[in-house]
């Protein structure tokens, strides 16, 4: 391979949602953009549940619905609190979600990312695949001026580097731009793709056409660890997975695949995926440390976007929309500086942080900043309460000749015994404080 002599306005490392959003925005605005992706094709290294939040993409590609590979639009959300034999559910289904421009879609990332990348190319960016960036180049003053890769002998130079390198973010870490991740602030999720005929999925989930269902589950399925399970309906497949904080896996010795198999065999879940053909098993990390775990997101000649910037709202299961929005805002900021002929140095790239502060991205990150610590200190929240709720529901619903007042007394007694009145009140107060 030869060297790349050209100098670029911007180099984007990675072709996930944030990298594609950044590269697309800059190329569309006439900047000379080089995007580098280590996978054989964009998406081949990327893993997500996956839900696409239309709003974030619509602000980048307004007519994306015309040709993006979308699976189903979500009309029903189920939240399940599970013990070993039951689930207590809160379901929200609305015909309002059957709108002309639906709000949320299930997608298959390897296909979606490939489509997004084709738009980046159409916009005029150069996309270089099968190439791993190995190092950030800095000048004498410490300003980032380009990258080294494993495919090209020489350096590739640019005025600014957008680090959209994902959760592992080796390049930025090795260049000393941010600290290593901590096992407490990152979750490991595993998932499988289960294929079934379209009509079987539609019957099992009471849906038709392009509509779909999302299930988020918590409770004894994570065996006392902090985490959740999920099940998303695609057109002809079901994405099913489960994830927990890494430190909990190492502490308990639970295996991720053992946990997934147990979740799949739960009596509430097994009938939904019965008879399916499994075509893939994937694993991925999710940065869930929240606002407090965020690294510096800009510096002299560089900005960080998406998972590499730890932009995940774990409470609302949002990540790809924060990624796309941060990528778009990074791209817009760089375009703005270029047009004003300002340098992409530390002082000027502060504009990226400022704009991100004004968007929902950092507002939401701030809102939930206390939640990760809260969950870490209150592991029983995801284990004890689902069990108590399940027991209460069963006591209430089972008709067995006992008087109702006696049943109420039994439920209250269980609550007091398991957690104590003071504990219940304290949990409520702590939760409210962390949520606010």
């Amino acid at each position: 391979m030869g060297t790349i002599e050209e100098r670029f306005d911007a180099i984007v490392v990675g072709a996930g949602p944030s990298g594609n959003a950044a590269a697309y925005t800059m190329a569309k605005n006439g900047l000379k953009v080089l995007q580098i992706e280590r996978g054989e094709y964009p998406g081949s290294k990327n893993v997500q549940g996956a839900i696409l939040y239309a709003d974030a993409l619509e602000r980048i590609i307004p007519d994306f619905r015309e040709d993006a590979p979308l699976e189903r639009h979500v009309v029903e959300q189920r939240i399940w609190m599970m013990d070993d034999t039951s689930h207590t559910g809160m379901h929200y289904r609305s015909d309002d979600f059957n709108e002309e421009k639906p709000n949320r879609y299930t997608i298959i990332r390897a296909q979606f990312d490939r489509w997004f990348s084709s738009k980046v190319r159409e916009a005029g960016a150069i996309v270089l695949c099968e190439t791993t960036v190995t190092e950030l180049l800095k000048d004498r003053n410490g300003k980032v001026i380009g990258v080294l890769t494993d495919r090209h002998g020489g350096p590739v130079l640019a005025d600014v580097v957008v680090l959209a390198e994902g959760v592992n973010g080796l390049i930025g870490q090795r260049a000393g731009l941010r600290e290593e991740l901590h096992p407490r602030t990152v979750a490991l999720a595993v998932k499988e793709m289960h294929f079934l005929p379209q009509e079987v999925i539609e019957q099992r989930f009471n849906i038709s056409g392009d509509s779909g269902v999302v299930i988020e589950a918590m409770g004894t399925i994570t065996k006392g660890m902090t985490g959740t399970g999920f099940l998303y309906t695609n057109r002809e497949s079901i994405s099913i997975g489960i994830g927990c904080v890494i430190e909990d896996f190492t502490r308990t010795g639970q295996t991720p695949y053992g946990l997934l198999d147990k979740f799949k065999s739960h009596p509430s879940v097994a009938p939904l995926i019965a008879g399916a053909e499994v075509k893939e098993y994937a694993a991925h990390l999710i940065p869930e440390g929240g606002y407090k775990a965020m690294p510096s997101i800009y510096g002299n000649g560089w900005v960080v976007t998406g998972d590499a910037a730890h932009l995940v709202n774990a409470v609302h299961r949002e990540g790809s929309n924060l990624a796309m929005t941060s990528g778009r805002i990074a791209g817009e900021t760089i375009t703005y500086l270029k047009r004003r002929r300002e340098p992409c140095d530390f002082d000027h790239l502060g504009e990226y942080r400022k704009r991100l502060e004004e968007s929902f991205v950092l507002k939401d990150m701030r809102k939930y900043q206390k939640i990760p610590d809260f969950l870490h200190g209150q592991r029983h929240f995801l284990d004890l309460y689902p069990r108590l709720i399940s027991k209460a529901a069963q006591t209430w619903l089972r008709v067995d000749g006992k008087a109702k007042r006696e049943k109420e007394g039994e439920i209250m007694k269980t609550l007091r015994k398991q957690r104590g009145l003071a504990g219940l009140v304290a949990d409520g107060v702590r939760f409210a404080r962390a949520w606010r």
Binding site: K45, I108, R109, L181, V186, Y281
Partner: protein, 97 residues
Amino acid sequence: MSTLNARIEEKLYQNRYVVDAGRPHITVKPHDKPSEALKSLVTTCPAGCYSMTEQGKVEIVPDGCMECGTCRVVCAATGDIEWNYPRGGFGVLFKFG
């Protein structure tokens, strides 16, 4: 142990990989006695790449690696392993992701 391996191998069998023969992207540094962090990888690695040898050391066969980075994060503080992305184009190739 063998049932664990059978279970994970069945899962990984569905996946596509381009193995960079002779150039493993993860290596375990030589050790006499593995640290707790290193030992935990035997159960925590989602691809079951890590195993305990009869001599009580931890070894890795990264062929089924999904490049999630869990072992990298677990051993970041102890420095027990060397972790790099595979060369461009090699490694796991998700059909669906």
